[in-house]
Amino acid sequence: MGILEVKGVNKNFGGLKALDDVNLDVQEGTVHAIIGPNGAGKSTLLNALIAKLEPDTGTISFNGKSLLGLQAHEINQIGVCRVFQTPEIFPDLSVLDNVMIPAFAKHQGSFRLNPFAAVDADAEVTERAHEVLEDVGLTPRKDFEAGSLSRGDKRRLELAMALAQDPKLLLLDEPTAGMSRADTNNTISLLKHIGETRGITKVVIEHDMHVVFSLADTISVMAQGHVIVEGKPEEIKGNPKVQDAYLGGAHL
């Protein structure tokens, strides 16, 4: 049994079937990539996982616990963390504060009334925040206002925010979109590195096949709201169904 199980999930928007009986079984410690053409329902699926939208039918469970009916922050607190495609940061706060906040969330839960504590009183939190900034290479910019970062730096910060929480399951929405080849490779090695050291399970939505095939252990291919094929990268590469639906053979 996988750490994340999605069974028979449907979601309709008006008449449009955004998710059509989606099943997904993500094994602990693996990288599970979801690929598919635009509008295949990949982002909708991620949204359903973090309670950004509610599926019409079906079940979603994490470590055997149902995620349906939980609020977004509760899902996050049990270890499911999402990295957004367009950076969702705290633009008015410093880069360091941006990672301090998730570190506090991990450490003190979804709410704690501690108006008299000093921000840096908790060494563990402070250390963790500095550590993840070091991991993504943002340490030199830790005192900058996050909103003033370049787009690429914002995306790295976004990743650092997720890492600061030590999630069990990390949901990545096109982590390398819009990055240069060099940055993409850096991100791949970073993701590999944290996978090895921390054993985080990852679900990755990605268009870049280079990224997919260098990271993924398992690949699910979605088209029109449905998972059409699932398998190991080498199985996917040769699968005619996939080439039909999406790859068209040209990319491989």
């Binding site: 973090i50 950004k52 609020q71 977004a72 922050h73 996050n76 607190q77 963390c81 999402r82 957004f84 969702e88 940061i89 705290f90 633009p91 008015d92 706060l93 410093s94 880069v95 504060d97 301090m100 906040i101 998730p102 506090f104 969330a105 991990k106 003190q108 839960g109 979804s110 709410f111 704690r112 009334l113 501690n114 108006p115 008299f116 504590a117 000093a118 921000v119 908790d122 005192d143 900058f144 206002e145 996050a146 003033s148 925010m161 929480q165």
Partner: protein, 402 residues
């Protein structure tokens, strides 16, 4: 020092020093000079600086940190002052129980109002708080007259029970508010040459309470809790996906600021034991918004500065009349004198609200950071000049966050 970082501790000590010396600093002009009317060092006004300072510091914890714009905070101040007067009527003229009960009652009331209002955000939140405040105001004026004294307001009377004190003094008058026997009205006057300074018990007590409130606010600003409140303002949606529930944080900020308002209300009646419904009117809520914005929302000293400036204007500028103006411009030839007096007259005296409105608009338009931001810009201007003079170019490409 005091659990504060170097910078904050310095700031706090500066504020302590200024408040301690305020009776001298605010009376720079000799007693009988023409400029004496600009002196602000009399107890009544200085107490108001402290009281509205507390009110604005508290409001800033909500508005400055979380960005939630409440248009109903005067209701908490009003409720606090009613509660305070009742304690003076029922218990004793000692102000401590009155102030404590003011804070508690305002806290409970703000918990109810905040719990309901915070289910909406943005302009809807503002309207909800406004509606609650206007309701409280209307009720205090009408149905609740037995509790609030209606239009005349709630006052002390000779037949109040005051179970831990005396209903009336030996000579048959209402006893004065006191702090364990030390009367608020007491004080010493120091005459130094032509100058006259008043050191008043009520002022120093208000000052101590204000400094304590200010200290607490600094701690809140620098705590993880305060960081979360800033995050609410910056990107509330994101907090949910970071595992944080923003709602209790905002509610806590709302209640804390409501308690600050209650504290201000309690202190107000401790200095002058009566309470009226007009204190709860939405224009009074607007005033604390003005103070916070004018000084600098989200900054530590901003609200204090804003409260001081507005109360100073209200008291001093509104006293200037056209006779005084004619005296000022008496060095000019008649026509020019008339001209200047005519130009300036609408902005002073009864017209000080006009000045306030214009000042406020200018701040919102050109200086959204308020007085504090203005000071920073000036400071930057000077330091840049110095840097240029020294021939060094140390300005970073992008400005670091605070």
């Amino acid at each position: 020092m005091f659990g504060l970082k170097q910078k904050d501790a310095t700031l706090f000590l500066v504020v302590v020093a200024i408040t301690a010396l305020a009776p001298f600093l605010l009376n720079p002009f000799p007693e009988n000079s023409e400029l004496a009317q600009f002196n602000a060092g009399y107890p009544d006004l200085m107490q108001r600086f402290m009281i509205f300072g507390i009110f604005a510091i508290g409001f800033n914890i909500l508005f400055g940190l979380t960005g939630y714009l409440s248009f109903g905070h005067a209701a908490f101040l009003g409720v606090g002052s009613y509660a305070g007067v009742w304690m003076l009527k029922l218990l004793s003229m000692n102000i401590i129980p009155a102030i404590i009960v003011s804070v508690v009652v305002a806290g409970v009331f703000s918990l109810i109002v905040g719990y309901i209002s915070l289910r909406r955000s943005g302009i809807y939140f503002s309207i909800l708080t406004l509606a609650f405040a206007q309701m409280s105001f209307a009720l205090a004026y009408s149905v609740l007259t037995p509790i609030t004294g209606g239009e005349t307001g709630l006052q002390l009377a000779l037949d109040d029970p005051r179970i831990f004190g005396v209903a009336q003094t030996a000579d048959g008058s209402i006893p004065l508010t006191n702090f364990f026997g030390l009367e608020m009205r007491d004080g010493i006057e120091i005459a130094a040459g032509p100058w006259l300074f008043t050191l008043n018990v009520g002022y120093y007590l208000s000052a101590i309470v204000m400094l304590a409130s200010f200290y607490v606010a600094i701690r809140i600003f620098r705590s993880p809790f305060g960081m979360m409140l800033k995050a609410v303002k910056s990107n509330q949606q994101r907090m949910n996906y970071t595992g944080i529930n923003p709602k209790p944080y905002t509610l806590a900020a709302f209640v804390i600021s409501g308690m600050y308002a209650g504290l201000a209300g309690g202190l107000m009646v401790a200095m002058d034991p009566l309470a009226g419904a007009e204190r709860m009117q939405w224009t009074a809520s607007g005033e604390v918004v003005l103070m916070t914005i004018l000084g600098g929302a989200g900054t530590l000293v901003g609200p204090l500065l804003g409260a001081g400036v507005i109360k100073y204007f209200e008291n001093i500028f509104s006293k200037i009349n056209d006779n005084i103006l004619y005296e000022w411009f008496s060095f000019m030839p008649g026509g020019l004198q008339d001209f200047f007096v005519t130009i300036i007259y609408p902005f002073i005296g009864k017209g000080w609200h006009l000045t306030l409105g214009i000042m406020f608009m200018l701040v919102v338009i050109f200086l959204p950071g308020g007085i504090v931001e203005g000071g920073k810009r000036l400071g930057r201007l000077f330091s840049r000049k110095k840097a240029e003079g020294g021939g060094s170019d140390a300005t970073p490409a992008a400005s670091p966050a605070e």
